[in-house]
């Protein structure tokens, strides 16, 4: 990419806030180099890049398996990546809370649900590996001090309630305890340290990395380049690329800078690019997921997303043009996001649909208070007031609500086939709370191919690249077309733990 292009691009996205740094972040000089004759500035035992769920879980597990000198490098000034701003929703099968609530579940059921949403191209072996070890990951968070709401949720595409959520309704309820746990265990955590390429032995195996220390995200060439040797190997836990506008538009031209995004600014993908350059197999890069629970009234994930995720099972989503439902509110994410994008006014302009919930039910979740307080959600005492506020045709809306309440009673939804189990007894009645919905770019199903040992396969030899492991959103192909909500935390953590275990055995 020439400098001129970069500037043009920069002007184009000027004013896009966090996104503005992204197009410039493409490092011009990052390439792998040979270890032959390299002067190492430092040497560590276990080298982890990225400080989200995958990196933190890997560091803790490596230490538990006997590693003495574990280092996490993070390019941003703060730790946690997408994980620290995530919704704190954690799916696992056969959990203590399921037993308590009498929910029947199994590894097989969880895998089957995910395979269905993956639409035939998910990786069953990896999904099974993650489901089998998900409870261990959950336990790791509990041991570190994470706390969860005392109830389970049933998220879209899941056939049963199997999702825990942190009491703070955020992934920070996991990353903060894990980060503290890392430090307690003596793991070294470095911020403003940007991975900038691999260092390879004669056989092409990874023996170290190039790192920019003292890196400032908005100054791409900042920092001092050091070469760090990794005795046992390198774990790449660098996350997805949803904030890299060029890359996501290369995969899907509709995902322009104007489309909202829930991700942290650092989700730009260069760790993944370096692995491709090394020979890793790219999988499913074009499958980029949009979140159907996001709101156009705030940035990113905000407060509304978790509000809607909690409320979808006992709410109705209404097209404001027709006053009618237009989707199964707990279908998988792709089904719902596509349906929402079709909600348009007579001129074809976006007309964000609304989610209507009985206040009686919505107020059970702590985010309802926040949504109302910060003016990103509204409360109404009557259907008339609600319809007037959002300019929804009143008669069809009233009719729709009456019909839906029948489905709640009969526990069957002939209109869209929604699973009504969690809606039992929860009629749509005044007073109501309402939010607006519009999808935002959320998650990259694509990335580098790994196996159930978290090894990265070489596209030419078909064999694992020695010394290299990858875990978390930087990996691809696990979920296929559409990842189910709350299935990333277990995947990131289990694969981070797996990478550490395999590395410590090697």
């Amino acid at each position: 990419m020439s400098n001129k292009d970069l500037l043009g691009r920069r002007n184009f996205i000027k004013g896009m806030g966090a996104a503005a740094g992204v197009a410039m972040a493409a490092p011009a000089l990052a390439v792998s180099e040979s270890a032959n004759g390299v002067k190492w500035d430092k040497e560590v035992e276990v080298l982890i890049i990225g400080s989200g769920f995958a990196g933190l879980a890997a560091a803790i597990e490596a230490t538990r398996k006997g590693a003495k000198d574990v280092h996490i490098f993070e390019k941003m000034s703060y730790f946690g990546g997408n994980s620290a701003i995530n919704g704190g929703l954690f799916a696992a099968p056969d959990t203590p809370m399921q037993k308590q609530e009498g929910v029947k579940d199994s590894v097989d059921t969880m895998v089957a649900d995910q395979l269905a949403a993956g639409r035939g191209i998910a990786d069953e072996a990896l999904l099974r590996h993650v489901a089998e070890h998900a409870v261990e990951a959950l336990q790791m968070t509990l041991d570190a001090g994470s706390e969860y709401h005392p109830y389970l949720q049933q998220l879209g595409g899941h056939s049963v309630a199997r999702t825990y959520q942190t009491t703070v309704s955020c992934g920070a309820g996991i990353t903060q305890p894990l980060l503290q746990e890392c430090r307690k265990l003596g793991v070294h955590t470095h911020n403003r340290a940007k991975f900038d390429g691999f260092i390879l032995d004669e056989k092409g195996g990874v023996v170290g990395v190039k790192m920019r220390e003292g890196y400032y995200f908005d100054k791409p060439e900042s920092g001092e380049l050091v070469r760090i040797k990794a005795r046992r190997g390198v774990i790449m836990a660098t996350g997805g690329f949803a904030q890299n506008i060029n890359m996501r538009m290369a995969q899907d031209p509709t995902l322009t800078a104007e489309v909202g995004c829930t991700n942290a600014p650092g989700a730009t993908g260069e760790g993944m690019f370096e692995m491709f350059r090394l020979g890793a197999v790219p999988v499913h890069l074009a499958h980029i997921q949009s979140g159907p629970w996001a709101s156009p009234d705030e940035g990113g994930f905000g407060y509304v997303s978790n509000y809607s995720i909690y409320n979808f099972p006992h709410s109705i989503a209404i097209d404001r043009l027709t006053g009618k439902r237009f989707m199964n509110e707990i279908a998988d994410r792709k089904t719902r996001a596509d349906a929402e994008l079709n909600c348009r006014d007579a001129q074809g302009n976006a007309l964000p649909p609304i989610l209507i919930t009985s206040y009686e039910d919505s107020k059970q979740h702590p985010n309802t208070k926040k949504v109302l307080k910060y003016n990103v959600g509204w409360k109404f005492d009557s259907i008339d007031a609600l319809a007037k506020h959002f300019e929804v045709p009143l008669a069809p809306l009233k009719k729709q609500i009456a019909e839906y309440n029948e489905y709640v009673k009969t526990q069957s939804d002939p209109q869209f086939g929604k699973n009504m189990t969690e809606a039992k007894g929860k009629f749509i009645q005044a007073p109501f709370t309402v939010v607006r919905l519009w999808p935002k770019v959320h998650y990259c199903q694509g990335g580098v191919q790994i196996n159930t040992k978290a090894e990265v396969k070489d596209s030419l030899t078909g064999k694992p690249i020695s010394g290299l492991y990858a875990a978390g959103e930087v990996c691809g192909g696990i979920h296929g077309v559409s990842r189910l909500g709350s299935c990333s935390i277990p995947e990131c953590m289990v694969m981070g733990m797996t990478a550490a275990r395999i590395m410590m055995q090697a």
């Binding site: 806030g17 966090a18 000034s77 703060y78 730790f79 946690g80 620290a84 701003i85 703070v168 955020c170 920070a172 903060q176 403003r192 003292g214 400032y216 900042s222 829930t262 600014p265 009234d297 705030e298 940035g299 990113g300 994930f301 905000g302 407060y303 208070k369 910060y374 003016n375 990103v376």
Partner: protein, 117 residues
């Protein structure tokens, strides 16, 4: 306490004066720091102050106390917040010479009335 030490240091060193060019500066910084760029720009004048620079005078625990919110909103305390605790470097939300939006505005509509934007 720390502040007095710094002031004393500045007086002893004799204020290193800056070119006439006026730059935006908080009043209370003018009084204490004056025109000694290096007292903040500890990584060179062309670079951002380091993440420790502000901590020469400011204490993060004290700041967290000053900006504490009610129990219900306690995690919206910018100096001890839900996502990063007390670890967020100052320059993520504060710019001395150029106003800056707080990092939380990426996703939230919180109002921090005293924050200079």
């Amino acid at each position: 306490m720390k502040m007095y030490k710094l002031m004393l240091g500045l007086v002893l060193a004799g204020l290193v004066s800056l070119s006439a060019q006026a730059i935006e500066q908080r009043d209370y910084h003018k009084d204490v720091i004056g025109k000694d760029c290096k007292s903040c720009h500890d990584q060179g004048v062309k670079n951002y102050p380091s993440d420790q620079a502000c901590l020469q005078c400011h204490d993060v625990d004290e700041l967290a106390e000053e900006t504490a919110r009610s129990e219900e909103d306690k995690w919206q305390n910018p100096h001890n917040n839900l996502h990063y605790g007390k670890e967020l470097p100052c320059i993520e939300c504060h710019g001395e010479h150029k106003a800056k939006k707080p990092i939380c505005s990426n996703c939230h509509t919180f109002k921090y009335d005293k924050h200079k934007e």
